[in-house]
Structures are given as structure tokens and as C-alpha cells.
Subunit: 192 residues, 2 copies
DNA sequence: GACTCCTTCCTACGGTCCATAGGTTTCAGC
DNA sequence: GCTGAAACCTATGGACCGTAGGAAGGAGTC
């Protein structure tokens, strides 16, 4: 029997592809094994459990999005920087719904610390650097950005913006207004 | 064998309690049946499937939160109204994590239309009424509020605000700043 | 080129759960 | 007491997770 050449990384990658195709909650080890042409238990050499496989999708997606955000942020500041970060998440959530959902998984402290999460925090701080905020205010701003962008992506993914009347404004239009709002808020962010 | 007296409503209520205790993803029909002292298949008289049970938790939670928001909004406007709506969601997400998670489930169009979702949209519109926005801008504002509050609750629930350094500002403090930001944005929300 | 041994991958298995099929019992109303 | 519609049951099949223990591929050694 020829060996397939499984590795932890290849399993994680396949899990990510599968997640995008069928949704993160349908990423089963059975389906992954079938995709590799391998018996289910063989995967346990490379992944500890089903939950572990999903966490690895999250780590992979966090790395990917961090790279995308870093690239999008190059050479821009102010509202453009906000649009860059928000745009990456919005586009990623549409293009890779399973991976995006994985980024919303709660990670334990050690895993979170060694993930690209801290890099995301750094990138967000960089995105608001142009607004010349203090240390603490920058933290608040990073949280505001994270909450807004992820909340927006989540509502969009859940179809919440499509449940209204047909003449309602488009999600794109609302997103521009959201960026306007964030920009205005950060521009005149007087310290309390 | 004495009958337990199951009804769809009682099953949904039990599912909600269970969801808060063990998490929405662990709401199994087996666990529900055990809680009632009943065989698993007996539940199918009242609920179509496991997914149906979870959707019913969502509908129940949307009703509950709509009532809470309506009560919190009574007699307030402006920033206080924003704080009222946001405060309800934040408190609910902490007090009823399983129910809250259920409110994030995607619903099909018919279910969404007959849920308390439209009432939530109406309530949010009422919350921003004091800012005297136009029809379209009000829609944008409602989306902004929804995205921000739910994104914030999600990040908080995922522990994203606890992964930072120990001297980072509290989640409560950031939330106040978020309210400030939303208030400032809506106050000077010039039409494009 | 045969040997060794680590690793990969296998079969076999037990357990939990969802969901359907079809029978039995409870109980309200007559 | 009778009847019929429920509620609730047992039996069953199927999907999946995860463990145990064995067989086989293949890299490195002599």
C-alpha cells in the first residue's frame, strides 16, 4: 500500500479547504480521511482530535489574514488604513467562510499567545497609528475596530442584512458608512 | 409509565437552559431526553431534529432579548439609548452564553421573518431616533449598532480582551469608549 | 544488497449520538 | 366503559469519534 505522506500541516490545510467547502462544523475526521484516501484512525498520528484539527484551521487562517492585513496596510494611514483592515476581513469571510469561522473559535491562553493573534493586535495598532492616540486609547481603538469589523462580517454571513426589505441599502454601502463613522470617531477621540 | 407532559415549548426551554450550562454545541437530543427522563426518540414528536431544537433556542432568545431591549429603551434617547441596547446584549451574552450563541445562528428567510428579528430591527431604529437621521441613514446606523455590539460581545466571549497584557484596560472601560464613539458618529452623521 | 527499526498506516472495536419505523400505552372526551 | 389521538416506547441502522494493537513501508546502517 503506497503511503500518502500525511503531515500535520497537510492535514490542517485539507481541513481548511474542507471547512470552506462544507462549513467548519462539518469538518469531520472521517471526511478528511476520505479526502486523503486513508482510514480515519490514521489521522490521529498527526492530529490529536477533531477539535485539534479545527484549532489548526484557526491558526492557519489567523496567519493568512495577518499576512493579508500586513500587505493591505503597507503605505496607507487614516481612513484608508481602516478600510484596508476591514476590507481584508470582509473579503476573507466571503472567500473563505470556513476558515473565517475558525478564526472566531476561542483558543486557550497558550495557543492564543503562540498564534498570529498578537500580530493582529500589533497590526491593528499600526492601523490607528495615524490618529496619534495614547497607549490606552489605542487599545480601546483596537478593540473597537475588532468588534466592528468582526461583528459586521458575522451579521453579513448570517444574512442579517438580507432579511430586510428589497429596497434596503446594500451591505457595501453600509460598510462605507461604518468606515466613515470609525474614522470620525478616531479623529476626534478626546481622552476622557 | 406516567407521562412527563412534553410540549414543544418545554423542550425549547429545556434546550435553552442546557445551552447556557454546557454550550449550544453540546445541546444534544440525548442530553435533553435524559433531562426529561425520557427516551431520545420521544423528543421527535415535539422537535423535528437537533437543528430544529437549536433554532427554537434562537427564537426564544430573540424574544427574550427583544423584551429586554424594549424595557431598557423606555424613556431614554441619545447615548443612553445606545448604552441601553448595548448593555442588554452584553449582559445577556454573559448571563446566557448558550442562548446568546443561538441568536447568532443563521435562520432561513421564513423563520427569520416570523422571529423577533424584525422587532429587534425596529427597536434599534427607535434607539437612534433621537439622532434625527434619514430613512437610509437610519438603516446604516442600525447595522452599525448591530455589528458593533455583537462583535464586541463575540470578542469578549472568545476571551480576546483577556489575551493581552495584565495592565490592559478593562472590557468595561473599552465599552464605554465604544459607546462614546458611536454617539459621536451618529451625532455628526452628515449624509454623503 | 540484506538488515534494522522507526514511523506510518491499517483493522478491529466500543461508545455516543442522530434519526426512522413501527408498536404500545395513556388519557381526554363521549 | 369505549374510542381514538396523542405521547411515549423498543428496535434498529448509520455516522462519527477515539483507543488498542498489529502490519508494512522505507530511511539509514553495515
Amino acid at each position: 500500500m503506497p503511503r500518502v505522506g500525511l503531515t500535520t500541516a497537510r492535514v490542517a490545510e485539507a481541513a481548511a479547504v474542507l471547512a470552506d467547502e462544507v462549513g467548519l462544523e462539518h469538518v469531520t475526521l472521517a471526511a478528511l480521511a476520505q479526502r486523503f484516501g486513508v482510514a480515519t484512525p490514521s489521522l490521529y498520528t498527526h492530529v490529536r482530535s477533531q477539535a485539534d484539527a479545527r484549532v489548526r484551521v484557526a491558526l492557519l487562517a489567523l496567519e493568512e489574514t495577518a499576512d493579508l492585513v500586513a500587505a493591505a496596510l503597507a503605505g496607507v494611514s487614516g481612513r484608508d488604513a481602516l478600510a484596508a483592515v476591514g476590507g481584508v476581513w470582509r473579503a476573507y469571510a466571503v472567500a473563505h467562510p470556513g476558515r473565517y469561522a475558525a478564526t472566531r473559535l476561542p483558543l486557550d491562553a497558550a495557543t492564543a499567545a503562540s498564534s498570529a493573534g498578537p500580530r493582529h493586535a500589533e497590526l491593528s495598532r499600526a492601523a490607528v497609528r495615524g490618529y496619534r492616540l495614547g497607549e490606552v486609547d489605542a487599545t480601546h481603538a483596537v478593540r473597537l475596530l475588532g468588534a466592528t469589523f468582526h461583528g459586521y462580517a458575522a451579521l453579513d454571513a448570517a444574512g442579517a442584512f438580507g432579511h430586510g426589505p428589497p429596497d434596503a441599502p446594500s451591505s457595501d454601502a453600509s460598510f462605507e458608512r461604518v468606515l466613515d463613522g470609525l474614522h470620525a470617531t478616531l479623529t476626534s477621540w478626546e481622552t476622557r
